[in-house]
Amino acid sequence: MSETTPAITQATLVKKAAPKSDYKPADVSPQRRVQRSFAVRLWSVRHSRLLEWFYAKFSDMFLLLHPLWKRIGYGRVEGPIKFVEKRVKGFMFDCRMCGQCILSSTGMSCPMNCPKQLRNGPCGGVRANGNCEVEPDMPCVWVKAWEGSRNMKHGDKILDVQKPVDQSLRETSAWLRVTAQAAAAREAARNAAQNTTNTGASA
């Protein structure tokens, strides 16, 4: 920053050079224009412990219903379940339907709302007031995630390194996926146990 103190950034110059017109969108990013209030999202983070408890019960219930899902066919129930999931999670967490929900590891604050879609913690650009660098009016998703995780029983799951998002799972039901995976794991464990008792009996 020599003599030419960058009081004007390149970004400002670009903005100034943009064609003038009467209509100027109020917000910076398309994401923010869709989402105007953060009240419900912030409520969810404040009540992360309650939601964690509820989610645990809820996933148990889904797992209990696994035979039913299987009989109807996972493919067939996907439509209605996805419809409900999208609305419910959309209302509660501003869910973006990434299809691989990690809310329980992120203090019930959806990381896909981060403009950089970070799934492993805050970037270095968080403002001093705890707001987002890209969208100055939005509280940083990860500042909230950290607060939320501190209330939770298994809040330290926030310290796990998350895999990159699988974009091919977008707009699919995370609820059904988790249930199917849990059922498969349960089945595998049961088979393994059976095998050991069988071999034990034969020996």
Partner: protein, 363 residues
């Protein structure tokens, strides 16, 4: 072995160094840090041109003062020469670049390709970053990619190096040998999460980290205390980011316009009170270096002197962090010099020899 410097391949300066046990890369920076020497790194201001001389000239002012040079990847989301391009030029000349990889512009397919390409050119150090948002730069209409984040990028590079595989599981014939780095910002909220985030980065593969500009030494000291308590300083080399402020006005501007840089009021006041603000800014940087180098667990400094690159040498010299050590410097080897001196007359003296003359002198 004539005139050979430490950490230089005798077969050519552009070649990787001999592998050492316990080292994951064949670069100079890892050697310096693992020897326990206080490392100095800096940042090259990337040119907006296609002229390689611009890169060489900008690298030349750091000669003999720094251990590695960061090749930034469109920092601040502004277009410049790519970090891969800068690294290609720098490795040719024997410098030790740190290739920055930002997740903003490329998806996992492109990034993994660049990691291999960079490593093949002799880049030993890679710094995995998330990158600034596109709104900060000169092309706010660009599509932000952010396919990976810094953490999964680190993990991807680590998997490529240690398991010899792409993220997909496909095998590499020759895995890259890398010293992996990451960035930390101890000065931005959520402050209590920041030390744990470093832990996550170490778990993902970070071997060294460079911090954001440090202007608040007490805050950095607290952070380092927490990091030491968690035992992270044994697993990772921490380089503290420092840099000179040009004036009080710049400091205020940065504070309000560049997210993530924390400048306390005392710093602004000190600059305002000075006669020559630029000189005071430099002195301030030296003072901060002198304070942070005493903090246990700090393995080096990363001097970011954006558009004041000419001060880097002075700052490093006056702070005395190198303790008399001279980092690798690009120079003509003595045997080459000898040959050059002997042949000098052929190049410069005006002699036109005819074959007849040559036969005469031969007899």
């Amino acid at each position: 072995m004539i005139g050979r410097q430490r950490d230089e391949n005798p077969a050519g300066i552009h070649l990787p160094l001999d592998p050492l046990p316990g080292h994951t890369s064949r670069g100079r920076l890892e050697r310096v840090l693992r020897r326990g020497e206080f490392a100095v790194t800096t940042e090259l201001n990337p040119p907006d041109s296609a002229d390689p001389e611009d890169v060489y000239n900008r690298a030349k002012i750091f000669d003999g003062w720094v251990d590695a040079i960061n090749a930034v990847d469109a920092s601040g989301a502004n277009c410049h020469m790519s970090s891969v391009g800068i690294c290609a030029l720098l490795t040719r000349m024997g410098y030790a670049p740190i290739m920055q990889i930002a997740c903003r512009d490329r998806n996992r397919i492109a990034i993994q390709g660049d990691v291999l390409g960079g490593a093949a050119m002799g880049v030993a150090n890679m710094l995995c970053l998330t990158g600034d948002g596109v709104q900060a730069g000169d092309q706010p209409g660009a599509k932000p990619v952010f396919d990976l984040d810094c953490m999964s990028l680190l993990e991807t590079c680590r998997i490529m190096r240690d398991n010899g595989k792409f993220l997909s599981g496909r095998k590499l014939t020759t895995p890259p040998q890398l010293f992996l780095g990451a960035a930390i910002n101890p000065f931005a909220p959520p402050i209590d999460f920041r030390p744990y985030r470093l832990g996550k980065k170490i778990a993902a593969g970070a071997q060294f980290v460079q911090s954001q500009y440090c202007f608040d030494v007490p805050m950095f000291r607290t952070y380092m205390q927490q990091v030491r308590d968690l035992g992270f300083t044994e697993k990772c080399f921490i380089l503290c980011g420092v840099g000179p402020l040009a004036s009080a006005k710049t400091a205020k501007w940065i504070r309000s316009n560049v997210p993530g840089i924390h400048i306390p009021d005392s710093i602004v006041k000190r600059l305002e009170g000075a006669q020559d603000q630029k000189k005071e800014g430099k002195q301030l940087c030296i003072d901060i270096i002198n304070e942070v180098k005493e903090i246990p667990g700090v393995s080096g400094v990363h001097v970011m002197a954006y558009r004041q690159e000419e001060y880097v040498a002075e700052i490093v010299d006056e702070s005395g962090v190198l303790k008399g050590r001279q980092p690798w410097k690009r120079e003509i080897r003595r045997d080459d010099q000898l040959v050059a001196d002997r042949l000098d007359h052929i190049l410069h003296d005006e002699i036109t020899e005819t074959q007849v003359d040559m036969v005469k002198t031969a007899h």
